[in-house]
């Protein structure tokens, strides 16, 4: 049995902050997990924990060159930090549209080439509230070249109560104004896509 992907508060938080920063745009990004040592024979023991989220682009997502740069650069960064790219998220431009499109499927498939348990996550903006009362994600797993949607509930989180509380607090505090995505980084290299300040805020609120 395949184990589901779980999200930490930091990963969930930054995903939603990214979507909140650009409500009028499509946004996308990557999820990273800690690299597992030897894979156990019975691999259904531990779920994959996505510990962090790297926001990538906002606006036009369907162009290749900067995506390639980002994937390569972040892959290198992951190797240094013993992470692995474990997932991809996307929020579409139109609120009511939360189905994965060609971009999501392509990037998801590429990640799945290097990480078989990769997850593709679509953000459902119709349920996006400041209070974050329910998880607003649809998680897709790669099965036989198709993406199958899995139910997303509190079990998909390391600690849903914490995720809910902290994400809501950061949204209220407008932390999304200082969130940096890869696009912002390309505009000014001093902008840090690892978002250390927001990571600190999350830890501070834990």
């Amino acid at each position: 049995m395949r184990m589901s992907v779980k999200l930490t508060t930091q990963a969930y938080c930054k995903m939603l902050l990214h979507a909140a920063k650009y409500p009028h745009c499509a946004v996308n990004g990557l999820l990273v997990a800690e690299k597992q040592k030897e894979k156990k024979k019975d691999s259904h023991s531990t779920p994959i924990l996505c510990v962090d989220c790297i926001p990538l682009f906002h606006g036009t997502l369907a162009l290749a060159p900067m995506l390639e740069v980002a994937l390569t650069l972040i892959d290198t960064w992951c190797k240094e930090n013993k992470y692995v790219i474990a997932g991809y998220y996307q929020a579409n431009e139109r609120t009511k549209d939360f189905r994965p499109n060609q971009v999501a499927e392509k990037v998801g498939a590429r990640i799945a080439e290097n990480f078989s348990e990769a997850a593709m996550i679509m953000v459902d903006s119709t349920r996006f509230t400041m209070g974050c009362y329910e998880p607003i994600l649809a998680i897709y797993d790669h099965h036989e070249n198709k993406w199958k949607c899995r139910d997303c509930n509190a079990d998909c989180f390391e600690d849903w109560c914490e995720a809910q509380k902290i994400t809501s607090a950061l949204l209220e505090g407008r932390s999304y104004e200082s969130l940096i995505d890869f696009d912002n980084h390309l505009d000014d290299l001093r902008n840090d896509w690892t978002n250390p300040e927001i990571n600190k805020s999350v830890l501070h609120l834990c």
Binding site: P65, V69, T72, L186, L189, D192
Partner: protein, 299 residues
């Protein structure tokens, strides 16, 4: 003495707020939450000091309020504008935008149709109608209408750019390239159009398109040597061409040189940016390693 100082501070605060709004207007910034914050206070506390600026501020704040679901504020602004400019097409369009924000698309469309009845050349109303199609997910129709619009208003750059984006989202890169070619022709010094054109060509793929993309990334860099996307793009396209089995030794050698030059420039840019901050060191290192690893695949 203290009383005078207080008034001076208030005047400074007021002028700062008004200047901020003006800058955001000029730069066409969509920082709607901030516009609402500053604008609402300006309108409520300082309306009398604004003079004739107040009308354009009402318009700016109204649009920002729609973005933030502040229908109360949008309504207030709209009423003031209606009172001051009765029968104005520009205000009618704002009323239409409010209907769009409330998702009353049919009513909004009727509003724009009534503007067009009085003034068939009203480009703003036509573009709003196309935006409605976009909002409803009717991309094919939006593309068709926008093409028709551009046949009539061939100089509308905003429209050409919007069309290029619509095509990109439909993965119709050839047509997106055509739109960007129009923009490059009329704006030969705009590095952003060059760079976007290069990105579209790169995405189209194939050796010929890659070489074109490299040329246009290089052109964008010539126009603005701070354009990081162009620099990265030059690096990526040259690297891919050099690594292609279809190119002869001369072409390969040339592209290896371009890629090496770009590598140098990229590393320099990161060194410059990373100066003084220890957090950025990780970015610098990651870039160096990424460039090194790609060198291996090229040779």
């Amino acid at each position: 003495m203290g009383h005078v100082k207080e008034i001076n501070v208030l005047i400074i605060v007021f002028t700062e707020m008004r200047d901020k709004l003006r800058k955001w207007r000029e730069d066409n910034h969509r920082n709607s939450e901030q516009i609402v914050d500053v604008g609402e206070e300006l309108i409520n506390e300082h309306a009398s000091k604004l003079g004739d600026d107040i009308w354009i501020i009402y318009e700016q704040v109204m649009i920002a309020a729609l973005d933030c679901s502040r229908d109360d504020l949008a309504w207030t602004c709209l009423q003031e504008l209606k009172k001051q400019f009765p029968g104005s097409q520009r205000v009618k369009r704002l009323a239409g935008m409010r209907l769009e924000a409330l998702e009353k698309y049919e009513d909004a469309s009727k509003q724009y149709d009534s503007i067009l009845q009085d003034d068939p050349t009203n480009t703003a109303a036509r573009k709003r109608k196309i935006s409605i199609l976009k909002a409803q997910g009717k991309s094919a129709e939006a593309i068709r209408e926008l093409n028709e619009y551009l046949e009539q208003f061939v100089g509308d750059q905003e429209a050409w750019h919007e069309l290029s984006e619509l095509y990109i989202n439909e993965h119709d890169y050839g047509k997106a390239a055509f739109c960007l070619e129009e923009l490059m022709m009329t704006n030969p010094h705009n590095h952003l159009y060059c760079e976007q054109y290069a990105e579209v060509k790169y995405t189209q793929g194939g050796l010929e398109n890659l070489e074109l993309s490299r040329k246009y990334f290089a052109q964008a860099l010539k126009l603005n040597n701070g354009n990081m996307r162009a620099l990265f793009g030059l690096y990526m396209s040259a690297s891919h061409i050099a690594a292609s089995p279809k190119v002869n030794a001369t072409v390969k050698k040339a592209n290896v040189k371009y890629a090496a030059w770009a590598t140098n420039q990229i590393n320099r840019a990161y060194q410059l940016a990373g100066r003084g901050t220890k957090e950025n060191k990780c970015s610098v290192k990651a870039v160096e390693e990424m460039l090194e690893s790609m060198q291996i695949t090229m040779s």
